[in-house]
Amino acid sequence: MTRVGAYLRSLAARCLHRHETEDDLAAELESHIQLRADDLVRSGLDRATAERQARVEFGGKARFADEARDAIAGSVVETLVRDVRFSVRQLRRAPSFTTTAIITLAVAIGANAVVFSAVNGFMLRPMNLPHEETLYTLERADRDATESYPNYVDLRDRNRAFDGLAAFTLDPGWVTIGRDGDAIRSWLFEVSGNYFDVVGVQPYLGRFFHAGDEHGANSVPYVVLTYSYWRNHFQGDHGVVGRTVLLNRHPFTIIGVAPPAFRGTVLIFAADLFVPLVDQEQIDGTSLLNDRANRWLTVLGHRKGVVTPAQAVADLNEIAAQLQLAYPKEDENFKVLLTHSTLGGDAFEDAVHAFLVALMLLAGLILLATCANLGSLFAARAADRSREVALRLALGAGSGRILRQLFTESVLIALVGGAAGLWGSVLVLSWLANWHPFPQFSIRLPIDPDPRVYVVALLLSIISGFVFGAVPVRQVLRTDPYQVVKSGSANPVGRRMSIRDLLLGVQIAICAVLVTFAIVAVRELSRSLHGNLGVDPHNVLLVDTDLRMAGYSQERISAMQQRMLAAIRAVPRVTSVGLVGVSPPMHVSWNETDLFAPDAVDLKPSKAAAHAIQYSVSPDYFHAAGTRLLAGRTFTVHDNTIGPRVAIVNELLARKLYGSGASAIDRVFKLPDGKRVQIVGIAEDGKYTANLGDATPLAIFFPLLQVPSNETWMVVRSPEDPQQLSAAIRGQLRALDSGLPSFIETWTRDMSGALFAPRVAAVSLGVLGLLGAIVAVTGIFGTAAYSLSKRLKELGIRTALGARRMDVIEAALGRAFGVLALGSLVGLVLGLLASRVLASIVYQASPRDPLVLIGAVVAMFMLGLVATWIPARRALAVDPLILLRAE
């Protein structure tokens, strides 16, 4: 007890009166020496000699003081505090070194924190749903994660392995609040009745609908709002339950509000409302509920605890086999897998994960390059401080103590840099998490930082502190005090430089890899934007209207579409206007169809001759969209229900079906419904989806009059300012039907939605490349500046002896440039090898693109120039007279 008490008292004294204790120790040792000197004086020495001898007898005062401090309570904390204070003093003395180190590290740690947040959000804590570990999404063996409604119902009712299976799909809709409110475009989660019970969420307000509410089609007149939709459109009104809204002009009663954290079961897509799937006919105007062949629903459910995943899959596949037997045409190749996917379950998720892992690796490389960078800075610093280190060693400080001091310094820098980087990354992340890149989509990025991110950033900081702090260790341990004191330098110059050169080389190689990736990414992005899209999206407005919602029956839609085309054609300065359904190329959604040989009898999907993206277009569409026809003709008004069935195919599809483009004209193929269709024209190839890795874009266009579309997108080409033009278009449409909702957007902006994923990929690679470049510049600059400072005298003498400017520059910077060239070469080769891997994941980019190669070489050269510019100017400005005087 007393012992503990004494310890605590001592500790408290140390903490509260640090200076006193420190003075106390010094005073005590001094008094010892004086007392000893007194004795020596008494034995006949004079005072000065006595004191000197007393000090010599006492031995290494610094060491004993250190040991005494260690013996005092609280020494661990105390030593740490003292080391930190000493480090702060040392670092303050070298502000430019400290600032450079902290900024570089902040950038690297910040980049890692941002990327890790994304990994965390997408891969580590996907949805934050209850019992996520047993929540599975059904997926077909071909990695398509959709099912038809009849299949879903059979799987739901017959399986024994799940605590209920729920189904959902995403759909845009128009919501009218209040009697005279405008229709608001909103994102609907159309969900099965048991959806909330299966997922396991509780309402924030009111109640949810349940399986028991379903009594056949259009039987559940309820909607549930998401929390943020409730806040934004109902001002968080608690009396909202029981109110009626119009959803695509049909009345629905709000029965509840979902909890804030629950925005549906698709990771990057935030829903606005949850609506009953069984009301699809009311909401969408058409119903797929009885169509077994049409797969459009995501099915998910919790596996029962007593069932293993393998048993669950077997159970489902038993049902699938029965269904395949019963419906051979609709349920061909019916095999089911289970995934934990939250991104729609298809290959997209794999691509995202692979990409994130690649990004994490690249971010790790940046941190590694930064450590190499700081390591060589620390080595340089340790070399400059070799005199100080040698003196401390000579005064009796243990080398362990000096190493501890060095590590304290490096970890201190790492922590400060890490904190700064984390702070910056939190700013970036919160900006990104609240970023709504496209008003028409409800995309949300699940990357807000959480404690896991902070811990990782902290660990990375500490680890990097130890890594770059370890670089000068060998050098310090080798320090021979006598050599240093004698010659003023710890080691022969050449040897030390070569380690630093190696570090610089590694760093430059890593940065060259990053720069190469960045150039590949940017090039790919520009290609996707300016490459052959098959359309010309500039000066085009897309007008998305919804005739079904405006109350038009199937029969009246075609006539109305023609009137709308005529009305918009009448707007001044409109060059041409076309109509396309279901949606224009490069939109986020599209329709596909199978094509069969003209004599095909078996019309199962697996027997199809081709699988193409399908559009229904008006005759003027090709002109308005800027799609060239390579052969044949466009559609006319005579391509209607009375005339023979015709189609226009793109060149790739013509090749695929008939071997060559031109010979396809007038040839015939068969549709899945058995109708024979004649090809009348060949359109140029283009891009139709932004699907990653969509290598064979086949497309087929049908005349709108023969294949009518409910969804009406008008493509309006005009040099007019988009703002004024959309106002004019709105006016015309209102004159036709004042209740017709429309959403007008430039085509380029609409495409940005489809290009979102590749853009994010390209931008993040670009940013990492930029960060890599920054690290490379600071690294080269640091090395060049340091070696220059060591050789100023030599350069001064050279200048004095009449060396030319080029010679001086070569002497000063030749080495840095040599390392730069070699490192870049290695990095370039590595980058090319690795970007082939990268290309297979995300891009179709050819890394052997000469532009990429040249770009990378030029970029590295420019980086070298930038980084050595200031040192080179200093080298040239060397004034031998001043230098010699300074010595």
Binding site: G59, A68, R69, A71
Partner: protein
């Protein structure tokens, strides 16, 4: 006089406690007292004394205060605490037993073995 013997590890603490038990002393005084009571047979390195003193203070065996020495210098005086006195007695007993045992062991003759 023979050259001073090397201190066995761990014995410095006991010597300090013993020296101080004869009356409060400052650090230099402890050195002199040890030299005196060991009849010059033990020599403690001057600087090495202080880490040991601080350790004993931390363990609550010694207490310290500043006072003026006989030749008018300010010095820090150490004194035993109750715990220190107890510890000194225990360790003295222990040392005596150890010394006796080692003495017997080393004095052993072949016929007794």
């Amino acid at each position: 006089m023979a050259a001073p013997a090397q201190l066995l590890p761990g014995t410095l603490d006991l010597l300090i406690l013993k020296a101080v038990s004869l009356g409060p002393l400052h650090g230099y005084g402890i050195l002199l007292r040890i030299a005196q009571i060991s009849r010059g047979g033990l020599l403690v390195e001057q600087g090495a004394l202080y880490p040991a003193l601080f350790r004993l203070v931390r363990q609550g065996l010694l207490k310290a205060h500043w006072a003026t020495s006989e030749n008018n210098r300010k010095a820090k005086y150490y004194d035993l605490t109750a715990l220190g006195r107890k510890r000194q007695q225990e360790e003295t007993e222990g040392w005596k037993r150890l010394a006796a045992a080692i003495g017997f062991a080393l004095a052993a003759q072949p016929e007794h073995a």
